[in-house]
């Protein structure tokens, strides 16, 4: 928990000697609370006070970074159990496991597939994050595959091996890529810890019990390893939900530092639907990373969409700039449709207008990011507001006609909107999926746009 200026003041010498550059200890404390000064500016501060400050400043769930460059994955730093309290901060990493027993062409094909798994939704680019290489063969084969994969991807890497020499060589091959090492256990920690320290890479700490995990992370912390991801191993779904919930709860509510790290789950199911639904469960229930084997497009599209939903900001809906968006080769006789500036509303309309191949204008009205029905109910999508927005956006200069298409859900406002704007109002379909046939029919009746 963050300390207030007064809390910090209590920890300082209170001599007001000014050596820190501030007139009083209190002034210095206030700056520390704002994180605008560094504690070592005071030469007299005790070790005890330093430790208290450091621990208070540390987030309850550590931030862990995997990979480097554009595809760097940040996980952890979470602050709540429920997303209505505050936005979940760092989206759960999604990764795929490649077994080193696979033949080279198959590995290359899988890599190509993984790289194609990027999508655009609601104006955001969605892509998968990690590729994990699992050792199942000898050291040489493992390293060959690590080399092949790392040379062909910008994704973050996970090295799944318990073999000290294989790990050492693989870390040498991936120097600078900051791969995640999977995994240290009570049994192998003494043999692997020096290697991990030397390369300064994040590690997975694994134990089937939370007690075991806690002992292990405390040991790693003592060794100076702080970028840790927790794993309680393969367990039935419900037990994993329990573990992940407990880890998050203990870190947040009991300040259990030894469990204050993001958690990981490896999924081992052969049915692609079941695999995908299990992964979805951990995205919802406090997972920091999920690793799976299936690379089907529908798996990635669904998991990435779910993740986007769950990690969106519940206080601030995604919005777009309220203005006129021309779609396609518009002319002054192209139809004009109105919607809100809620991203989901706008992009849904946009994709259907594009699908119709009918060039059109979309006017997005500032509804503070509310959807059509919500905005209408909250009086943010009224005839007065829509007609004001038509004027402000300059719609009348862009089209020669005076026809506006409104969403079917707000058909009730058409009369009033006609009066307020002086335009002819046409009620469009309720669901955006009806837009293409609606627009094509309009297009068949040129009198609509020319009237």
């Amino acid at each position: 928990m963050a300390l207030s200026g007064l809390d910090i003041y209590k920890l300082l010498p209170k001599t007001n000697c000014r050596e820190c550059g501030f007139p009083t200890c209190l002034a210095f404390a206030m700056q520390l609370a704002k994180k605008a000064a560094a504690v070592d500016k005071c030469p007299y501060v005790t070790e005890e006070a330093k430790a208290a400050l450091e621990s208070a400043g540390r987030p309850p769930v550590r931030l862990v970074s995997i990979g480097s460059g554009e595809r760097k994955l940040d996980i952890g730093n979470e602050t709540v159990m429920f997303r209505h309290e505050e936005k979940f901060r760092n989206p759960c990493g999604i990764g795929f496991i490649i077994d080193d027993g696979m033949a080279d062409p198959e590995i290359k094909k899988t890599l190509r597939r993984i790289h194609e798994l990027t999508f655009e939704r609601v104006g955001q680019k969605l892509s998968v994050d990690l590729i994990a290489i699992r050792q199942n063969s000898d050291k040489k084969r493992f390293c060959d595959v690590v080399k092949m994969v790392s040379g062909n991807t910008a994704c973050g890497l996970v090295l799944m091996t318990g073999d000290k020499e294989a790990l050492q060589d693989a870390l040498e091959l991936t120097k600078g890529r900051k791969p995640l090492v999977y995994r240290l256990t009570a049994e192998n920690v003494s043999s692997l810890v020096e290697t991990v320290k030397r390369y300064r890479v994040p590690v997975v700490a694994a134990s089937v019990t939370l007690d075991g995990l806690s002992v292990l992370t405390a040991e790693l912390d003592k060794q100076g390893i702080t970028e840790i991801v927790l794993d309680t191993g393969m367990k039935p779904l419900v037990e994993k939900i329990w573990d992940m919930t407990q880890i998050r709860r203990l870190a947040l509510k009991k300040s259990a530092r030894s469990l204050g790290y993001p958690a990981l789950a490896v999924i081992d199911k052969t049915d692609r639907f079941e695999e995908c639904m299990e992964a979805a469960t951990y995205i919802l229930k406090y997972g920091g990373i999920v690793l799976l084997k299936g690379t089907e497009i529908w798996q990635a599209l669904s998991l990435l969409t779910l993740r986007q939903n769950i990690y969106s900001d519940p206080q601030k809906p995604l919005q777009i700039e309220p203005k006129i968006y021309p779609v396609g080769a518009v002319t002054d006789s192209s139809p004009a449709l109105v919607t809100t500036n809620f991203s989901l509303s706008y992009y849904t309309v946009l994709s259907e207008v594009e699908a119709s191949k009918v060039p059109a204008y979309i006017l997005s009205v500032d509804t503070e990011g509310m959807s059509v029905l919500t905005a209408w109910a909250a009086e943010k999508f009224t005839p007065a507001q829509i007609s004001a927005s038509m004027k402000k956006s300059g719609l009348e200069n862009m089209v020669a006609h005076r026809n506006l298409i409104i969403p079917g859900y707000v058909a009730v406002i058409s009369g009033e909107l006609e009066d307020a704007s002086g335009w002819k109002i046409t009620v469009g379909p309720k669901e955006a999926s009806g837009i293409p046939s609606f627009l094509k029919n309009l297009y068949n009746k040129p009198e609509f746009v020319n009237s």
């Binding site: 997303r83 419900v238 919802l284 669904s302």
Partner: protein, 324 residues
């Protein structure tokens, strides 16, 4: 030092609602569906009882749906024109334990069937199938106010679940449901305050709160799912904290919302980068359902047989952990 688990014990629990009446309850159903009753957040079995597994209701219509996507038509279009055969197929082929009948044919724009005709249809359906029924109106308030009371009467004593009552149209429905021994779906527009208010209004009319099921209004994955997810989490936390008026079980119309989603509808030909549509549609419905289960859903109304199969497997897998 050993880390102690942090167990939450809640003072409240979700109300228990029974759908269907068997012989011992004065009806003719072969089984009844009990739902609700949870005293913990979803699937945290260590923290409180979770007496009933979430249940899936197959959605059927009284009239052939015109705009369902091909993926649904593939398995179901053969029975669209015969709702009794449709019901039969869901039960015998897909092992439905609950059906949700939408009386779409009563809608002025989709057949305008009379209240009398719909009541007769419900009587025939009750004779044909022995599973409990959820029955929903066509969505036109004025028409539903004629049709639902007639159907309530036709199904008297069978303890069906009727819907949807909304804030500005609940009285006629609640009175009919109450008189004929059924239960009611109270629908609120993703709004926790309206949800509570409506539950209060309906129970003020004399319908016991145990006979109310809440429809929080959901969006499919990618289409506002997260709003429903959080509203449901908040309502469930309130229920577990002891608020009886927030403690109704949830019913979620997963099929209806999912199959509107573009990701569930468009073909790979139109959208090559989204891959084959068959699995895409099924996972969209199944994963939307899974997410809502994790927010506390008790009854899922679904459409695609394969999606139902997958969600049923998911529920079974979760419930296997429910050992006291």
């Amino acid at each position: 030092m050993a880390i102690g688990m942090l167990q939450e014990k809640w003072p409240g629990k979700v109300n228990e609602t029974v759908i269907g009446a068997d012989k011992s309850r004065g009806g003719t159903r072969s089984n009844v569906v009990k739902t609700g009753g949870e005293a913990s957040l979803p699937f945290l079995f260590h923290e409180g009882v979770f007496p009933h597994k979430p249940v899936i209701a197959f959605e059927i219509w009284d009239t052939a749906p015109a705009d369902w996507p091909d993926e649904l038509n593939k398995s179901l279009s053969g029975v669209y024109n015969d709702p009794l055969a449709w019901a039969d197929k869901c039960i015998n082929e897909y092992k439905a334990e609950l059906l949700c009948v939408k009386l779409q044919g009563a809608h002025p724009d989709f057949g305008n069937r009379s209240a009398d005709a719909e009541a007769k249809f419900i009587s025939r359906l009750l004779k044909k199938v022995s599973v409990p029924l959820v029955i929903t109106g066509c969505g036109d308030d004025a028409k539903d106010n004629q049709v639902i009371p007639a159907c309530c009467e036709a199904a008297k004593g069978e303890r069906c679940l009727f819907g949807d009552a909304v804030q500005d149209n609940y009285k006629t429905l609640a009175a009919a449901v109450s008189a004929d021994g059924h239960s009611i779906i109270a629908e609120s527009p993703i709004d926790i305050n309206i949800a509570k208010q409506l539950n209060i209004l309906i129970s003020d009319m004399g319908l016991p709160v145990e006979r109310i099921v809440m429809n929080p209004t959901i969006g499919a994955m990618g289409y506002g799912l997260e709003y429903a997810y959080s509203i449901m989490e908040r309502a469930r936390l309130a229920a577990l904290s002891g608020d009886k008026m927030m403690a109704s079980p949830f019913i979620c119309f997963v099929g209806q919302e999912t199959w509107k989603a573009k990701e569930a509808r468009v073909s790979a030909v139109e959208f090559p980068s989204w891959g084959p549509e068959t699995e895409r549609g099924i996972i969209w419905e199944a994963m939307t359902a899974a997410a809502l289960l994790q927010a506390g859903a008790d009854i899922l109304v679904m459409r695609h047989p394969k999606a139902v199969e997958k969600v049923r497997g998911y529920i079974d897998e979760l419930m296997r952990g429910n050992t006291p």
